[in-house]
Symmetry: C2
């Protein structure tokens, strides 16, 4: 029986612990600065930001959830709150009766315009000020490969 566990060795541990630290602390850090500056969580900000890039600033809920790295249920709850705050509108999809389209409102656009500079500055100070061009490329590539693994699982 070869069910012996291949434990993490010291080198692997020395990489794993900081990685866990990163994934556990970064969302909180982003939440904190966005909440302070514009009263939004990072996920809420992400929803609006993704929508802004979309054609007609409109997108199906499922696609939006996928691009925002969240569950459809989570997005649905968040969309209800954002809609209540006048930052987003939902409407029936004309071509598929099952789908709902989420669209950015003028209020949503304006909030993004106010929020974006501070958020970019936060992101720069946490990430891009620290790394060289080449390191940034590498970091992105590694993150992409891990996300692919997660999605495959």
């Amino acid at each position: 029986m070869s069910d012996a566990v291949q434990w993490l060795d010291d080198e692997e541990m020395a990489a794993w612990l900081p990685l866990i630290g990163l994934v556990m602390r970064l969302p909180g850090a982003l939440d904190h600065s966005l909440r302070r500056d514009v009263g939004l969580s990072h996920f809420e900000y992400g929803v609006l930001a993704v929508l802004e890039q979309a054609e007609d600033q409109t997108m199906r809920m499922s696609d939006l959830a996928y691009l925002c790295n969240g569950s459809l249920s989570r997005l649905s709850h968040v969309a209800r709150r954002l809609e209540g705050d006048g930052l987003l509108v939902r409407s029936a999809c004309p071509t598929d009766g099952r789908s709902t389209l989420a669209g950015l409102t003028d209020g949503g656009r304006e909030l993004l315009r106010n929020a974006a500079p501070g958020h970019v500055q936060t992101v720069r100070s946490l990430i891009f000020d620290e790394f060289s061009r080449e390191e940034v490329r590498l970091l992105g590539q590694m993150a992409r490969r891990i996300v692919a693994r997660i999605q495959a699982a």
Copy 2:
């Protein structure tokens, strides 16, 4: 006035989006497999795992919270639940009346023994099976630098 925003260019975006994807999806993935296998969240598992490595398998709540990448409040709530499940005990610190010591119970040790192999396997399949030795070293180093930035902020 030089308050012009230095937006993220394409290369930076191409790194930032996957990194966000990573930090938003990895905790959920770890939660999911641990919840399925042993009924614990990743944070709960982390609390027990950190305790296991500690001297006397005992540690002050604040130190534990720090090493687990969570707030003291979060740890306090979690410790109450873990204590209720008999996985952990809290006791007064003999040398500092403000502090509380958290210690691993036999039940906690046993649960860890059951949970660890599957968890290591999950981590391997998501991270270490994907990267070379050198890449792993780099990933850890980058994560460490970002965490340092977060803590400095």
